[in-house]
């Protein structure tokens, strides 16, 4: 059982030089675990730190605080070449349309590149590439095509094939269907679900679309302003949200419902700089929310929420535990 653990991870970006220096805390105190065979969803808007989180989890960015470990091994304590070896086990599929494919590489070259990097002999490579293409439902004729000759859905499948060709144990999915048409998105989501059942691969799914997380994820962490504000089993958290932000996300989902009209007008404001970041929008804000940052409170079976409304109901969760109650299954 492979286990990726993000333990109290934080990432601060520094910008500016000498004058006007400032720093941005993109991710703060995130503790999260992904195991092979399961899907952990990260739900958040742009600016919530979710894309930074996927880069931290994929060893593309080094955390400022806390640690990221794969089966107990911290890639940032390894030499660059050893860290590269660890990459074999953990791949990323980026959003279609964010040019995750090099425009100058053919499909076969793109899918075969990871194999080249890890020294698979050329003879075996062709067969492995063909298998990977077949597995994601692409026909062999497409192997010689270039990205601009493919449809969005086909490009996204190439991205998945490329990520799977090394037989990784974990795959990070960064907005895997946001840029796709509805009918194609449904195909890709089903493909991802099937692949997980067949291969037992683990997913870290990052998206701003609540129905997508609900459909694929076993567990979910809802992010706001760089923090996980609520976490727990996807079904429970998303159908009966505890945190006001999760509730707002659910209310804003536009399902097909002609009688319902538009969802209630939500509050939109930049995150608060002090105290609970959601205080600037929260309908149930209390004076202390503007001063203190709420710790995670336990609310029922394996769920935590960072909201003072649940202080009396819940037990304060141990924030630095290595197997966080909220996210251990």
């Amino acid at each position: 059982m492979t286990r990726l653990l993000l333990d109290n991870v934080g990432k601060t970006f520094r910008a500016g030089f000498l004058f006007g220096r400032h720093k941005t805390e993109a991710v703060r105190d995130v503790t999260l675990e992904v195991r092979s065979g399961e899907t952990v969803g990260i739900l958040g808007e742009s600016g919530s730190g979710k894309s930074t989180l996927v880069r931290l989890a994929a060893f593309l960015l080094r955390p400022t605080t806390g640690s990221v470990t794969l089966d107990g091994v911290d890639p940032w304590r390894l030499a660059a070449s050893a860290r590269r070896q660890l990459r074999r086990r953990l791949q990323v599929v980026f959003q279609e349309g964010s040019d995750g494919l090099d425009p100058r590489q053919s499909v076969a070259e793109a899918v075969g590149e990871p194999l080249v990097n890890f020294g698979t002999p050329a003879k075996e490579r062709a067969a492995l590439v063909a298998d990977a293409l077949q597995e994601v439902g692409l026909t062999p004729e497409l192997a010689g095509r270039y990205p601009f000759q493919l449809s969005g859905g086909q490009r996204q499948r190439v991205g998945v094939a490329r990520a799977l060709v090394l037989q990784p144990e974990l795959v990070m999915l960064d907005e895997p269907v946001s840029a796709l048409d509805v009918s194609v998105a449904a195909q890709v989501l089903n493909l991802l679900a099937d692949l997980q059942e067949r291969r037992g691969v683990g997913y870290l799914l990052i998206t701003h679309e609540l129905p997508v997380v609900r459909y694929l994820a076993d567990r979910v962490a809802v992010m706001f302003a760089g923090r996980v504000v609520e976490a727990g089993p996807a079904g429970e958290v998303l159908t009966r949200p505890a945190h006001p932000y999760t509730a707002a996300m659910r209310a804003a989902a536009l399902t097909v419902d002609p009688g319902a009209g538009l969802p209630a007008l939500p509050a939109v404001a930049p995150p608060a700089a002090h105290g609970c970041p959601y205080a600037s929008r929260c309908p149930a804000v209390m004076p202390r929310c503007r001063v203190e940052t709420p710790p995670p409170f336990e609310v029922g079976s394996g769920r935590t929420t960072r909201c003072f409304l649940f202080e009396s109901a819940g037990v304060r969760a141990e924030p630095t535990s290595h197997t966080p109650a909220a996210l251990a299954t």
């Binding site: 994929a58 593309l60 964010s98 590489q105 590149e113 990871p114 890890f118 270039y146």
Partner: protein
Amino acid sequence: MSAAVAGLGTPGAAGELTPYLIETGAQGALRRFARNRLAVLGAVIVACVVFAALCGPWLAPYDPINGDILERHQGFSRAHPLGTDFLGRDQLSRLLHGARASFFAALAVTVAVITIATVVGVTAGYCGGAVDAALMRMVDMILAFPSLILSLALIGFLGPGLDKALVAMTLASWAGFARIIRGQVLAVRGRSFIEVAECAGGTPLGIILRHVLPNVSSTIVVLATLDIGGNILALAGLSFLGLGLRPPAPEWGRMLFDAKPYLDRQPLEMFVPGLAIAITVLGFNLLGDGLRDALDPSGEAV
């Protein structure tokens, strides 16, 4: 640019129809190039210059160095289609021989400049951080001097002669290109496929060779083409000042210099090399512009 591409300025329409309006790939680039009349004219001029540079010595009707002093300052005639100079040397022969010197010298400088600029630009753009800052400060220092002044200073330091002039020109002009290439590399570096390549276990050098260079290659080709024209001009300038090729070797800038004293009596003598330089530089610039439009229809690069 073709009419097909013009409509892309309208937001919204681009998304649905781009695949039908822009031809991609090598064939599309070739077709766009062929439709651009000025670019084709540039290509024809460049082809003529290259042909003259390669075959000039065999085409030239006279010896370019030893003329007949009695035939000096002749105008255009059947015997000397472009006249003769102050030593009675045939201008056409000197022009054809000179094409070789001008073109190959300019090409050598361009190859050297682009190589240095690519290495520095890619290193700075890909590595970022302190490496980038250090290299770019160096570039800033070089760019602080006008490049002709810098070349002259370097020649003063290195001494006269064609080889030294070429070295001086190279050292004086790589910095600007390094800055442009760095900018292109930064743009490519920020695209997701670089992160994907990192995840796939690529080493920095492997990623540079496989992903970064191919994606900045069209910029490099365009810069190189535009640079050759500039170098022919700069070399002519240095020769005109007496700092390039030593007499009596034929060279276009030197021909200008030699004709100068007789400008009032025989203006055609200066007109011939001057026009040759102007047309050649124009040809390379048209070709460069055409390549830019053909290789990058969206107008993103360069």
